[in-house]
Symmetry: D3
Subunit: 322 residues, 6 copies
């Protein structure tokens, strides 16, 4: 039985009250912790079934969030690992595993963000103007760290229609003391020659190193390429979607039309509102990850190398199917 | 003395009550006609001085409008031509010249629009999906004509931030019975593969065939090029700016910040709002003009060829200086 | 009444017994001459009506042959010119006009071929290897002239499926003493690095300088561009299709499926057999014409400049409509 | 002494009676099994010498077949492994090793094909049109699996001169119920805009991720790139040629001239008939392998990672030299 | 008989004592004037024969100088024009023609330079950094004029091996008060992102708009294109080589090896020293000419349009042959 | 206390008496050996402190030399490894470790060079013309080995301003019997079509596979890419700079102005003299390393894979900080 608090968190994610790949993943892992703590299961098998049900519900809230799925998988997997080691493990012992993983997860996420900020800040040249799109907490961390290091950066941010997340970006940077300029999305081509670096976040990364991110990202990468400006994505390795290795393509979520235009005056007009687009690996200079700066075509081998003991994805597929 | 009606028209152009290169040019030529009719000048020299003053005031309303300047130049030039033929021409005779030119101008502008619609509609393949940006009356004419001819077209239009002229486009086409889809500007890259043709209007065309048009146009041309989709600009030859032949560069008008974002919450945030961008000739398949479909690099020779008797631009420069 | 000999020529063109843009155009002009000679018309108006009927029949034999249409137009137009000069011209006088134009046409076509051979041969560097596709009499003339001039050229020819016109090319060149190599079409990319020049003929040239030629031509231009090898089309100016200026697009003729594959074993398999493809102007270094070597984007102005007295195409459109 | 059956298989491979990288490799492994079973060797050293002689003969049948070489190497290597473990192994024991490896090989090849079909089918979007070249059993498996999954695909296949393997492709797909269209090779550029995916097999893959495949493949990849259509190669990891890591370049096999043109009419005409061409890694979206979808530049690290215990290629080089 | 002073000028041109296309052309026209003044010919035919002999000698001094040939042609042609008008013209009258043409030529050359400076200066944005190569008097004129207009430009100049003409450029600009930076040629790629415009002169321009200029120019154009920096050539229309229309290719002059490396230590080392390279039209934003800013592909039509009365080149070819 | 001999070696490196990444690294490792041998330290901690001081001094001699830093790190690290194993190790034992590492280092460097020569020579096609820039001992080894193998190669070398290291290249190859041609750097674009391969050395390689090498290298890679000529860098894996994984960017060393131009005549002229430029991974076909031919985007994973036991770079960072 999925706990009410978990259901509430599912609703909040769906309603965009919880936003951003990292925040969603954190909320989901936390929800799994709540599920475990609140569980009244008597038998381990019952406990596990509930946990999987909760994980399923959480994973289903957003179609394009590998970080969410990877994070949930990790928590659930450790319960299985524990059961494999000790077939007689009690519910209490399994609850402890979930709690431990939850705590570890939060620590790791923070550490990853810290490393990305550090490596990314070093990549930004002294006195650089940086062009960004949408709002990404990893990008914010990188830019603020560069600012702290006295790099004297300036930032140009696209407003990012239809939800105008660029407004959050400019205000947050202004509050941090970074000189910042706001432009409409279609002006990115006009300002790229003023920029030295372009940097965005990531919703998902595929096996071929392609980037799924806020619609408009692929345009920014394209104009950056043409102007000789390096284009980066700052992303935790959890953004890598292992399923894309096995041919599963990320869904491009299409959001409600009324985010773009609404009212009776638009009757008879179709409105299309894809949330993401795909930036090909060849337009991406590098991913800035918690393990370092990695070229997109090398990411797949890198991720597999980073988890050498067993293939976690295969395990996941086997356990959870799809 | 510039007539009050002329001053009012200047104000309306500045306030964007009169919009679109063609509408502005028509209003300016009409204003010159009013100026002539209302003139109380006794001497031809006085009449001419007033006319030039009015033309100057009208030309100064918008920095990037060669059609406006070309149209005014044409009207004024015929007064000079008349004086050269007949040094003793009376004020009444000169008024008649202006009136005749005004009438001729309106006829020519309509004829040009008709030809562009006809040629452009033929260029659009049967059953094509067309991607457009902003709102352009030449593009509207082309698309409606294609629809009338039973080509079964569909149109995808970018909303065109910050002023959302794409809304006018989708409503006008819907009312004409054309299936139409509205997208945010940054989604143009996501829909270009669904399109068979991209087509926009023009604010100005330079000697090298580069296109000055609504900001975002160069992005559309770029993604169209990458997807193998032909990109057209539908434009009267009056959009060609002869001054660019002599090294004068078109100004990229920067409009008010509050069109993009306003309010105290943006204090400390710079907002940049360029109205146009430049699409290089190499990304433009052709200009659709009233004299035919012309490759951008051939436009300069074509325009000069189309006016073979004398170089009207040199005459203009000589008479009006700059 | 269309003469039986004219009808026979129409049939021969349709059945590909007469092949190649130049041969077809020559046959059609000759057919018009026969029509005139054989005419039993009593009144000039009757004579003209027959002539137009014959021209219509001939023009309809092939969808993508501007040279055919341009050549027919020219002959018919001079009859109208004569009538305009002398409204009382007799049938005999009109017959004389057609006969004179026929003779002049053949002379001009030969002279054009001679000039193209001369200019083209000069463009080919000493000791060059030339890659060509299909069989073109202008290309043959250029290559043989280069050989005669002692340039020591070698030629690689694609076989050109489905009709294998490349076989004609290699035999004709071999007989002329030129070292020649035959390859399958899909090997053009493998041999382009061995070539110094690529050269093909033309079926039609559009206002934007795009080339309509045997399917596979656009592939050759693409690989040539990537390898830094200049790509030429050797073409009479009559290959320029004036209708494309007014938005009319050349038809890509689709020929019979059984040229590609036939027999019951292919039941249920669709076979597509487009005869031409379109090479974009940007991949063409130059057109080698009877008036010189011309960049594709400059061709439109050049053609219009070459016929300065009146716009022959406008006249044609007016007289013949479409 | 090489068994007569092995010699017969060598002849069949040379005569193209056995075709396709996988079929050739399977036949060779089977031949090695026959060689072992038929061997009358008394001493292990004699047995091994014969086995190597047979492997040499089989490897020499085709110059560009890493799958053949990799497969033979694998079988022979296990005999050495056995000898290293047990220096006193009998001929019977060695025969058992070969038999076991043979059986395992066939199972693995089938499993690999199944995985490629599964992953590849997922990569193909719903309702996609797929463009392919030549005939490849991995591609066939992918396309049939996509069809089975109800993806509603359509396929366009190039005929693939000179041997017209495209005919096999269209018939096989038609029989499987897939709507299929046949075109000449040089029309691939004309149909690429109708396609959503391009997919081919592989003869060999180099250390840099370049693809050696049927001549014409590089053209397809090039036009796909220009049209924004993802280009895949479906290939077992055995297609990777380890020797290319050490600077050895794959040979481009040149086949008999009379496959292209024959007869006395071609006397004096050189005919060139390269069997393969090289598609650069940058034009390949991904390899679809039995271990997943892998970007070409990441393949080298991936393959090495997939065999972590020892470097099988180094062992092979050492044992077999070159 | 060619005058001794003319022979001396020929020697000076060959020895590079007279350098730069304009200086050479001016010296040659002056030499023709001297030849005419010094002539002791009694009969007009004798006078003309001498003049042609002198023009031939002067034209032969440099292989790649259309301005030299165009200028000589012009002077000689007017003598023929005079003879055509008045078959009985005296030697004295012909001498007067040459003298008049000489004076007119110098005036025109100065006027052209002035116009180029004016148009070019306007093309350079306020505060721009300009990258240039070699030493060109038209480029110097443009840059100094931009400086005079208070544009606040800075210039980066390549040293231009082997003759280091970049040293002349930096000193001349420094003396004019322009901030200037000197770099080695191979560093042009490192500084292009700091530049807003690249501008060079021209030795010759072909019918297809390709630029023949100092070796290294094509590299500058290439890096400029990649960085989105517009690349200009400032050139008089006399740099256009009409012979290239008829297939004649400009020679790439190869200069003495010892300009690059000399001495016995280089025995056995071949040294190649081409003076020019070819920049393709597609990499050139525009030519800045005395008649305006012209896209390269439009230059041919423009030049022909600029001389509408008769085709001067055809006349030249006819009179002088080649 | 840093030994005087070590200080002398530092001076020699700074003064370019010792040149080339490999020579510098070898000198530094040798210096470390001298430091160890000469050390009068009584306590291990004192010995280690001296060794680190010497390593710091040596590492500081050149800003862009990862091979130097990697080599020093390696030697020092083994001392720590020894101390970790045996906390009571004596100074004599530590001296032995340094001596052993020094000897091993020299052997490994030679072996690496040998492998690179072997693999690289195989990559060069029979009869190839090779274009190179600057002087690189790995490239020399590759070219000489190809020559030894009877490949019949020819080499074109850029002179490489300002220090003209190309002179060393041409003399060394000439002495080895290789036909060699010298050109100025800016002529590389003119000769690339004559070349079949371009190959250079490496100063540093970044995590994204970008190449830091002598200024002008990126131009060569660019023209090679455009001409379809594969571009290689022959480099030991020690050229890979692990710090770039963590965002640290390689410094582009700027050398003395007077290498380019000197003397009072250049007063007021700024001279810029960057020693290196950056060639993007996408322009590099492969790195030829001692472990094989590796695509640039795969290098990071490869290097990490090649040192699987522990991450040597992390250890280095930890031990030496930064």
């Amino acid at each position: 039985m999925v706990a009410d608090e978990v259901k509430a968190i599912c609703r909040d994610i769906r309603a965009l009250k919880i936003q951003g790949a990292r925040e969603i993943a954190k909320a989901a892992v936390q929800a799994l912790g709540i599920q475990a703590r609140k569980s009244k299961a008597k038998k381990p098998s019952e406990f596990v079934a509930e946990l999987i049900e909760a994980a399923d519900a959480l994973a289903a809230t957003r179609p394009t969030e590998p970080m969410l799925r990877n994070s949930l998988r990790n928590s659930v997997r450790h319960v299985f690992v524990q059961l494999r080691k000790n077939r007689a493990a009690s519910v209490a012992q399994l609850k402890a595993v979930v709690a431990r993983e939850e705590a570890g997860y939060f620590k790791n996420v923070e550490a990853a963000l810290h490393s990305i900020a550090e490596y990314g800040a070093k990549e930004i040249p002294q006195g650089a103007t940086v062009l960004t799109h949408c709002h990404s907490s990893t990008v914010m961390a990188v830019l603020k760290r560069a600012h702290e290091l006295g790099k004297g950066i300036e930032v140009i941010a696209c407003e990012t229609r239809p939800k105008l997340q660029g407004h959050i970006t400019v205000k947050e940077l202004r509050d941090a003391g970074v000189p910042v300029t706001l432009i409409v999305d279609s002006a990115m081509g006009s300002f790229i020659r003023d920029a030295h670096v372009a940097i965005v976040g990531a919703d998902a990364i595929s096996a071929t190193g392609d980037l799924y991110n806020k619609v408009g990202t692929s345009l920014l990468a394209l104009v950056a390429r043409r102007a000789g400006v390096p284009f980066y994505s700052a992303a935790e390795l959890h953004k890598f979607d292992p399923l894309t290795m096995w041919g599963v393509m990320e869904t491009i979520e299409e959001r409600a039309a009324d985010e773009v235009a609404s009212g009776s005056e638009f009757r008879g007009v179709e409105v299309r509102n894809p949330a993401f687009d795909i930036t090909p690996a060849e337009h991406i200079h590098a991913y800035i990850t918690e393990m370092g700066v990695i070229p997109p075509q090398g990411l797949l081998s890198f991720v597999r190398n980073a988890f050498p003991v067993e293939n976690p994805f295969a395990a996941f597929l086997e356990e959870r199917g799809r």
